[in-house]
Symmetry: D2
Subunit: 397 residues, 4 copies
């Protein structure tokens, strides 16, 4: 481990490939509950978490991000989630770090510990309480000797700044990534300004993850980069978008779309979309390129294949995947063999087989959310009566 190059050196020298989204992949595999989205699977089903890490490693990921999303004490107890009765923040985070390290050692992977936004902040409980939640997780990361920290999935740059402050105390490299689009954060602060504030707060790498598709995310990063350039700030950029097409999403991204989270299938990106995404990132100067919700191992593999020449290496998983559909030359049907080539797949505009569905949806458009009462933390699950009230609000909006 001592001989491994660190994150920042790798970024200076070339491209670092991130992994994909754990909560969505493991929800489909049966180990994460949609709604709370907490990672108690690290204790309950370590073999499932380990297997997913391994698949991303094989696909070309350089980073094993410990599965610690939403694993703060306040989130584990929120809205009827029973995880907090069985497990602690410490237990879940500790197990997550050990699983990530175990698989990272099977290759040349780095381990990252991850923080995300907290119900404490959304409930308006202030900086001190919010930072205490972060500190609890960072303590575990430091004890487990992770290689760097990622503060990701923040909707408000203010909370992000508090997280960066906590992270920097660890002495580890800090990546800061917000779940915003070109319109900026949910307090109305522009994407460019968010980038600048994260850099000024001391993050070594800044960027965007989740909430929007690869191409909308690149647009957001373009704005961030322009603002950083204007300010003369030198930091690396990270992109870890959704693997769902979201050209129609509003300010809150895919969460606002009517399909979230159980009808997103027709929006899933193809591997060819990911080639295009990787190239756009690279051309913009983004050097940490990974994925978030919806990114399966084969999406990461496509990123690795697109950048194989720049990186000088093909991922292991390519023993089972020849670039640009080369494997189809072995198909039994002759007309499928005729699809073994780049031109065919680059030009395909795939159909949905759903003639009663429209191409785009109108999002719910809840817009900017700051200190709204209905966002406050509750330990009890939502009641049927509360849902009725919510539906009324939505109709009016």
């Amino acid at each position: 481990m001592a001989t491994k190059k660190g994150l920042l050196q790798r970024l200076d020298e070339g491209v670092v490939i991130g992994d994909g989204g754990f909560v969505f992949a493991l929800e489909k595999r049966g180990y994460v509950k949609a709604g709370p989205w907490t990672p108690e699977a690290t204790i309950e089903h370590p073999e499932a978490v380990r297997q997913l890490h391994r698949e991303f490693l094989r696909a070309g990921a350089d980073v094993m991000q410990a599965f610690t999303f939403y694993a703060s004490d306040d989130k584990l107890a929120n809205r009827g989630n029973e995880s907090s009765k069985k497990y602690t923040c410490r237990g879940i985070n500790d197990a997550a770090c050990r699983l990530a390290r175990e698989v990272a050692e099977e290759g040349d992977g780095l381990v990252a510990g991850g923080l995300s936004q907290t119900p404490t902040y959304l409930s308006g409980l202030g900086k001190e309480k919010t930072q205490r939640e972060f500190q609890n997780q960072v303590d575990v990361f430091v004890q487990n000797k992770v290689d760097f920290l990622i503060a990701e999935y923040f909707e408000h740059v203010e909370e992000m700044e508090w997280a960066i402050e906590v992270c920097l105390n660890s002495g580890l490299p800090v990546v800061a990534s917000m779940c915003i689009g070109p319109e900026g954060d949910l307090h109305g602060i522009s994407a460019g300004e968010c980038g600048v504030r994260m850099a000024k707060a001391g993050a070594h790498v800044v960027g965007i993850n989740c909430h929007f598709d690869p191409f909308v995310t690149v647009q957001g990063l373009r704005l961030m980069k322009a603002a950083l350039d204007r300010e003369g700030l030198k930091v690396h950029l990270i992109a870890q978008p959704l693997a769902f097409h979201t050209p129609d999403a509003g300010k809150q991204g895919f969460i606002d779309l009517p399909e979230f989270p159980f009808g997103l299938e027709p929006r899933i990106c193809t591997r060819w979309d990911m080639h295009k995404y990787a190239r756009e990132c690279y051309d913009l100067g983004v050097r940490y390129i990974g994925g978030c919700c919806g990114f399966e191992p084969y999406h990461i593999r496509a990123v690795a294949e697109e950048l194989a020449k720049e990186r000088g290496t093909f991922p292991k998983g390519c023993e089972k995947h020849e670039p640009w559909a080369g494997g189809l030359k072995m198909h039994t049907k002759p007309w499928v063999r005729a699809r073994a080539g780049r031109e065919y797949w680059e030009n395909l505009r795939p159909s949905s087989g759903r003639p009663y569905s429209a191409a785009m949806s109108k999002p719910d458009n809840w817009g900017v959310t700051a200190g709204d009462d209905i966002l406050k933390q509750k330990t009890a699950s939502t009641t049927e009566d509360e849902i009725k009230i919510l539906k009324t609000k939505k109709t009016k909006a």
Copy 2:
């Protein structure tokens, strides 16, 4: 194991839930090569195969189908596939049976050994040589004491009859399932007639798998059932369709669609589609209900949830999934909590986020294939020159 109920008894008493598709799921995870689609992963990466079995078991599957698809000697050597240089049919099938049994014992699962159509038949080499390929696999299944046999993914009922004949010699229950749609097999024999011939050949369960979506498959089964009823034949029915929408596919199913196999994402069924599918099957009298390519564990879980009342049980995996999106009551965003209910998801017609794609595709429509020269087996991979010729043929068609 002695106390387990057998397949036929289970079918007489209620519903048996099958598992989902291994080749597509493991291709995305990095362990199967698209094109040859052969299952050498049973030897190369047993932990990945085991994990997928386990996920289906948790999701509610009653059957662990050994991962032996296309694992006949002739297929392992076809069109440049290097598997035959490293592994034998015997080795792959043996490993597959052991993995399936191992996971089946973690629950109350049955193990099935599976045969599929052969290049030998497609190359016109005759009954004796074709049956020899089948016998080689069945020998391994018998030695491994599988609970029953599935002959599936046959495009020609003639080859299926030969397979059933071999399977019956084992003394085990035999399931026979063709990859056809309402238009019938690729020699032009109707779906109804295919059902009748499989039943007359002695299969205990007959039906359809792969190539078409759940709803087109139910249409095909409806024709099969009507023909069986007309002939007074009493057999059980099986459905194991794709998890891709294919209303626009022609005779050859999804293989003809321009999106096959690397652009099918917008066609992926939602879990709610699977509720509908399970109900339609049950109402038609189908009692063996599973999936094929594209079916991920959460699709099988949806089948199990839809039929939970009829089966008197919820699958284990439901500890992480409340029926009809109940878990969303714990979501942080209030308007997502408002989606926690059946009506919302049953009425959603999900958008693709792809405004430049059409809803439906024109299939390549190669139609009936019988003894066509370009279908003959070759051990060499297709050359660039051959692909040029194929493209010309397609343009003319």
Copy 3:
């Protein structure tokens, strides 16, 4: 006039081109009221009716169909229509015949008098009363010396047989055309059987008009022709479909579609669709080829252009339209000049510019209607209360 060839001779010798739809075209021009759809414009605005006749003549139509649709006394008084207070059936039909004749004499056109289905029949008032409505119109047609009669837009073959009986008494050639699709009439009688019954009732030409798009209509005619051939019946065939795409319509055709009648725009056929339609008709043996609702003069011109070689003539209107977009060679923009050719337009799949609309709609599916109470004639307009009840019924259906 004496020297003009009659309809039947023309059909024996080649193709007769019909005109397009008057009610929809004149609704958009401001002279017909959607809802009652009655032709009092023949008296109120003769110049507008004359102009539309003239446009169809220029476009290549051989027939000037007098604008007598729904001009029976019972329909003029139905559901609050005030036409019956100002005009008589006799007056409207008489004016219609004179306008048609006037324009027909500007070329080599034939004049047809048209009958359509009656509220009297739908209200279950019996054969005698229904035939009296028809006789009133036929009397005017005979006095005006029309060249032949068309009984068209009938949903029930029984009423059609009554109409044919009345028409035959005039001694004129009789064309019989039902507004049905491949599923047959609204009493559940098959399309083939409808064709046979019309021929046996004595019609000289039988076929289909309105309610379905050109391609669905050709499917219906294919069924009709097969049944006529089986019975050895020799009659000519007529097609006068909608100019709206209706692949998704149910038994009642476009009336069931949610877009009827004020949201049909995205379904309007292009001129290139009409080339294809004309060719399909011709190849099937249909010799009377025209249009119904939605057919504008340029659609008829496209039919005439497609069949120009077979007919040995181009319509006058082609002085302003070169076949297959030839006129675009004179466009100021170079890339539009590059579109001057057949291949471009035959391969275009035009977009709707409506990303929030689906490709297909679920029809209301009221299905077979026979003697349903809500179909009975009323002279009063529908009240708000009745509409509320109707909406409830629909929700249940």
Copy 4:
């Protein structure tokens, strides 16, 4: 005529409704040739031109715009157009004015003479020659005592300024309207700047016509209005957009779309789209509201109905059209009667019945065009060889 209120007084007091597009409507009726799009029909078929004027008058139009589009001498002789051999600019413009006046006198209509951009400008022949073309038309307008002048369909604000200069010499009110979108003119000048320059050049009314759909046009006007406000310029605004949806069009508008001009049908706006358009215009402060290509009389009627309250009057044509589908209460089918109301039509998202078409198209994107050699005027028609070269250029672009 002496008692009629003039244009500017009417605009100060309320809304003036324009007419719709003549070239597209008369092309479909058979009197205008697509490609050259010149108005020789004023001489060849005056009855057809008169009838269309009359329909717009009945629909609620306050302005009869003489059909003088592209009727400059240079355009009549361009690219093989034979009009110049038979007719003069003077003859066509004179006939156009008389037809417009004749119909205007049937109501309270104003007559406008219209100029549009010239091949002379596009060929780079300079200000003097370009203005001579304008002057030739204006001379005829003045002799015919039109009520005001419209310079419309200009892609370059420079040419527009030259046109305004000529128009102002007549002493008549001058309306100036460019065929641009939110991206501005084809020399790259912003929409706002175009508005300002037209106002500073002396136009009394400025705005946008053609090339983009109603909603994109309103966006463009919003930019124009903001720029005018910033400069403190007080002029009235005019909107005369397409009746085709163009959310996907690039800088050159619908001419770039692959569907132009013979595959635009699925993009045609409904009457309900026009209600929305009229309301958006009114709310923005636009007071001259009409249409361009694709606007049929019923579209103008919808504008008049939406603004009936503000204008205190319903158009004559409404004797045949009750607002918000009221006439459907008289329909024979009960479920169609249930559609007689505003809510139904406002919420409808109409389907295209074209499942093989995408929602949006990629435009050809020729972008800014200034002095490009291929834009120069030629009297000869484009040859096949030139078209081959054009196609190559397009593929590269």
